[in-house]
Symmetry: C2
Subunit: 318 residues, 2 copies
């Protein structure tokens, strides 16, 4: 809650990307689909849409910038990660709206409201479901082996800035994800950028490689890119694009996985620098800020980090 | 787009309901989860959350009513169905915000941002995916056999008020759903009502039975219920509750399925009336409004129907 609101002109949502698939030869089932109603025949054969993504665009009456900020989530998450934090503080959606930006929150292909497609008929295989056990370690809330079913028995990094008391509520956000869908997801993100037009991308984790690729493909539209803890980078060579800001949290040195992920991202960013691109880095622990997890936009200092991002964007895009 | 905006105090999102399940004995997989990174071991065993739902609550600075309106979607849909219509007009989220209501849009268990759980380990079976072919007929956009892959070859009811030119975009909204999950979904909706407090429910199709049950269980909180084309009704006896408004579209007499669904709903509503409850009915074709589909909130006269609903709510809850 806040004393000052924001004047919204319109909340638009839409789906972009995707294509039709026509299914045939699948058995017709008899299932009860309506409460209190009789079972009915359900024929799964016919046309379905696959590969689409979902976006929700908040347009203000008097935006402070002509460039909307697009918030792109990471793996196993939906756009909900940018909304209210698990412990109930305003998320980056609200914080960036209050700073005067138009903001677009999206769900990538397969995630959240974007929907997903049946396997093995359309997707090749089953998805991956993230456990709390894995999240606790991979999101660097606590050390390897630090998760326990009982909240009181969990071991977090000391200090940690993740709101650990809300970790169980946070885990309710996890959505299944697939591997090997990068080209499909990238195509939808590219379609999103084409639809929105000139914009700023703020991406987290898995979303960062999509943002770098989108910027390389549409350098006239993507005016700045902010990467929160990129977990990877595109395979292709950088071919131009806007200034980039990268932000890293704490305890990366405790994780072999995160050291590899960071090395992949930094190799790509080094090639960007070699190509003359502006790449700024905020290494939070090197600045004396200790305890940030992988979820910088949910940590207790998320508002301060949002302010850093907002300031950098305002400087970078004028 | 509109000339007049709305002043938002806060956009809050949260997850309610659900419980932990601890998985064990599943094989560890080796999969590449980050772009450009190496494959890693993925252990699906551990704690996961199941049965939760997602909600997004728009609070205005100066709401015209103390009662937020909760919009509950139907089967195979997410909360996105209440946002911008497939042909780009403001959805009921925006229309009700402009009328001064606080509004809550939610994704029921298994749908959209609420996430879903693996089967057969947690859910008993595979989901049902809706085809365009089925949707065209079951949503009463056109007659049995009226769908064709090529848009130009489709046969719609004459007249139809569904924006048929946007039907393919509409189909991008469809999400998988399960059967037999009513108790789990109802528990999450009951938790949502308990969290929000005094409220008005506006439900569509499958969502209507959940709304009637929620109203029966929490008559002190649910102050009015609007049912858009209910596809069913609770199994339990009505035990009190608020005034109800039911709205029906056109061409129900062409569909054996819809005649059965309507009979189920009307039998329940008859029992509510027998118990002394106020049940108002708007039968659109009986009023001379022809061509409404099952998706009243997307049809070309959706703004007029929203105005009817807003007026009835204002009268009913004073």
């Amino acid at each position: 809650m806040s004393d000052t609101g924001f004047l919204i002109r319109e909340i638009e949502s839409f789906f972009v990307g995707g294509r039709d698939v026509t299914l045939s030869g699948l058995p017709v089932e008899r299932r009860r689909m309506a409460q209190g109603g009789p079972p009915r025949l359900v024929d799964p054969n016919g046309d379905v849409v696959t590969g689409q993504m979902y976006a929700q665009l908040y347009r203000q009456m008097r935006p402070a910038s002509p460039l909307p900020v697009l918030l792109w989530h990471g793996g196993g998450m939906s756009g909900a990660c940018w909304e209210t934090t698990p412990d109930g503080r305003p998320g980056w959606l609200s914080l960036l709206l209050r700073r005067g930006f138009d903001v677009c929150v999206s769900d990538a292909v397969e995630r959240g409201r974007a929907s997903w497609s049946r396997y093995p008929e359309i997707y090749a295989e089953a998805p991956v479901f993230r456990t709390k056990d894995e999240a606790w370690v991979q999101f660097r809330i606590g050390p390897e082996g630090g998760y326990a079913h009982a909240a009181a028995a969990r071991v977090a990094f000391a200090p940690t800035l993740f709101p650990v008391e809300a970790f169980d509520g946070f885990a309710a956000q996890f959505v299944p994800r697939w591997s090997g869908h990068e080209a499909m997801t990238q195509a939808a993100y590219d379609a999103l950028v084409a639809r929105i037009g000139a914009c700023v991308l703020v991406a987290h984790s898995q979303g960062c490689a999509f943002a770098l690729q989108a910027a390389a493909r549409a350098p006239a539209l993507v005016r700045a890119v902010v990467l929160l803890e990129p977990s990877g980078a595109p395979q292709d060579a950088p071919i131009g694009g806007p200034p980039v800001l990268v932000i890293w949290g704490d305890n990366i040195e405790t994780s072999a996985l995160w050291q590899r992920y960071r090395a992949t991202a930094e190799a790509y960013l080094g090639r960007l620098r070699d190509a003359g691109r502006a790449v700024d880095v905020i290494d939070l622990p090197a600045r004396g800020v200790r305890g940030n997890s992988h979820f910088l936009m949910m940590d207790r200092n998320s508002a301060e980090i949002a302010a850093m991002v907002g300031g950098w964007v305002a400087e970078s895009v004028g």
